[in-house]
Symmetry: C2
């Protein structure tokens, strides 16, 4: 069965997956960029221009493997809130986003699909988390679906019991405030077990799977 997977999801020592006050200048929230320096440093992130190989890079690569579609929350797609009002926003990632497959964006406001270069098309789903996931599995054609984020979206899929694998990177920084990944989940985590713990010199990787 194809899976819904979360990869390389960085949280601070104090549990936050994004800082507060996300906006155009701080898409990851205040201080949130610190959560991702370890990923930015990897060879995979650098592409052809250097970067580090090793544990972190291996985890970054794993997050790209056998993924046929991505689901993300609207705040991960962009800073526009409420109705689109003709916005020409096309994501944070430039003309050729790094997805190269269909991406399903959760929103309450309808929007035509946006076809980007390199195989990425953003589809906008207004009928909920389950519907978005169903469309993503269809589009993935037998491959897995990656749940990109952000924090609230991952939490909601955890609450719904729909996440099959969750890879978290605990980053040794304090944010002090922001969006907590493991909060308000009720009993949702009871169905998960930690199957891998691999610390790197930068972060502590932990992989959870649904039992």
């Amino acid at each position: 069965m194809p899976k819904l997977r979360v990869h390389n999801f960085a949280i601070s020592l104090d549990g936050f997956g994004a800082g507060p006050n996300q906006d155009l200048d701080n898409p990851l929230g205040a201080g949130g960029r610190q959560l991702h320096q370890w990923a930015f440093a990897t060879a995979t992130f650098h592409g052809t221009e250097g970067g580090e190989t090793g544990i972190d890079d291996d985890f970054i690569k794993l997050g790209e493997t056998n993924i046929g579609a991505t689901v993300m929350g609207r705040n991960m797609f962009g800073p526009v809130r409420g109705p689109w009002n003709g916005s020409d926003w096309k994501g944070w990632w430039g003309d050729e986003p790094p997805y190269h497959h269909p991406v399903f964006v959760l929103t309450h406001h309808a929007h035509d699909p946006i076809v980007m270069e390199g195989g990425t098309t953003f589809h906008f789903v207004t009928d909920g988390h389950e519907a978005a996931l169903e469309r993503a599995f269809d589009a993935a054609g037998g491959a897995d679906v990656r749940l990109g984020g952000g924090v609230a979206t991952v939490r909601e899929y955890l609450r719904l019991g729909l996440v099959d694998e969750l890879h978290v990177a605990v980053v040794p920084v304090l944010l002090g405030r922001g969006e907590r990944l493991f909060g308000d989940l009720g009993d949702a985590l009871d169905r998960y077990e930690r199957v891998e713990y691999v610390p790197s010199p930068a972060v502590a990787h932990m992989r959870l799977t649904r039992t």
Copy 2:
């Protein structure tokens, strides 16, 4: 200046320093024992009977170094709640507790000091966190004071801005519920920086100091 230090404070991946429903049978709360297996495995914890040396053991030893007194919350001392009512409870640690110095227990209910074997005396402080700390610094005679726990007590001293050093061990387990260390702290963590990150094969050690 002598410092108030927290050492080897274990929290789960999801942020809990103790499980829920602490009682006589589960002093660390439901599931809480998992947080401390790494410490139980060390040579220092084992004493003369084996155990592992290495990173974890070094951190355990560091927690014993240059400590002249300990402060702890009442729930860490024992399971008795409310008035003592003549209870003969003398702590979880048997006739010779591993402190070997004065221990100041925060409580709302007066209790005579309890002199144990090996140099530990439990003193009961009813006039608050600052008073307990002041008495502990006096008793420590120039050495540092260790803040033992539990979670609520560490949080309160963090809120008061009185913790100088905080060493946390992030344990790759999920508890799902319990007492969260880094919660409801307001701006208290803004004064701290992470000065050390040392992962061991068992846990990720992070040391914070007040700036």
